[in-house]
């Protein structure tokens, strides 16, 4: 059912391509981008209460880009100029409509982008694919180093290490 509504909310999505990567579940895009598989994240301590999680100490009384940057700073993210792929970094892109954040997408280690569509499924998509009447436009990025990331060894080094292993195995066999 959800995919029938893509044309209404994301007029660019089918043209630019997407791939469904999960089933619907209770959570939201901010929690997904934050790597929290249990809680739903959104600012707001309204009367009546929404029941959403928001990091302690981060302003909750508005939905500006700055507030979301502060929330992701609690996870080690810092603002960065763009969404190009930088090996060793993970990035989050924020979509803003009329001054308020509406959505976030998370860059994967291979440079592709994924996000959770509200309470619906997660999809892989281009950043432009979700721009439109539902989420507005991409307006800001944050990034942080990927924990434990080891850059691939240069090609020559890899061959050299492989050679060392082969030699060691041959010696054992002798």
């Amino acid at each position: 059912m959800a995919e029938e509504l893509y044309d209404r909310d994301f007029p660019n999505l089918k043209r630019l391509g997407y791939r469904r990567t999960s089933d619907p579940h209770y959570s939201n895009c901010i929690a997904y981008a934050a790597g929290d598989g249990v809680r739903k994240w959104w600012p707001g301590e309204y009367p009546p209460r929404s029941g959403d999680y928001w990091p302690p100490g981060v302003p909750w009384d508005n939905e500006s880009l700055d507030v979301f940057f502060q929330a992701f700073a609690t996870l080690g993210y810092v603002p960065c100029p763009g969404g190009e792929w930088e090996p060793g970094y993970e990035k989050v892109a924020f979509y803003v409509l009329r001054g308020d954040v509406q959505h976030a997408a998370k860059q994967q280690l291979d440079g592709t982008w994924r996000s959770k569509l509200g309470g619906d499924e997660d999809i892989e998509h281009t950043l432009e694919g979700l721009e439109g009447p539902a989420y507005g436009n991409v307006a800001g990025f944050v990034r942080r180093p990927v924990p434990g990331y080891a850059p691939p060894a240069p090609k020559g080094w890899r061959a050299w290490i492989r050679g060392l292993f082969r030699q060691a195995i041959r010696r054992r066999g002798d």
Binding site: S27, I30, W42, S50, Y53, W54, V101, K116
Partner: protein, 116 residues
């Protein structure tokens, strides 16, 4: 047996004297709200939708219907429940955890004698 009996009940819309029941009204509003906000992550934007506000406007009679919804499919019904009842049974450390908050509301409903 009349021909009408063999065809089953008349569609609701064909009955001139039919006024929708609370349950029918709730389901219509719920379906509209879920369809029109399902891709929104902003809880603010979702709960300010006119259909959601109309559900709050149904008042205390909607509480069992909201608890039934929570039991079947956790969604952002906590705002409506709090708006109607002025209660908040969820523990603070459950914030954001829909399953735990839903369980707290269902327990609250049972203790208050609601049936759904």
């Amino acid at each position: 047996m009349s021909p009408v009996d063999t065809l089953g009940p008349e569609p609701l819309a064909d009955r001139p004297d039919h006024s929708p029941t609370l349950d029918e009204t709730f389901i219509r509003l719920r379906d509209r709200w879920q369809s029109e906000t399902r891709h929104f992550s902003s809880t603010t934007r979702r709960v300010l939708h006119p259909a959601y506000q109309a559900i709050i406007g149904l008042g205390p009679a909607a509480v069992p219907l909201l608890l039934r919804e929570l039991e079947q499919n956790v969604d952002s019904w906590f705002w409506a429940l709090h708006a109607i009842t002025r209660e908040d049974p969820a523990p603070d450390d459950a914030r954001g955890d829909g399953d735990r908050i839903a369980r707290a509301w269902l327990e609250w409903g049972k203790k208050r004698g609601y049936k759904w």
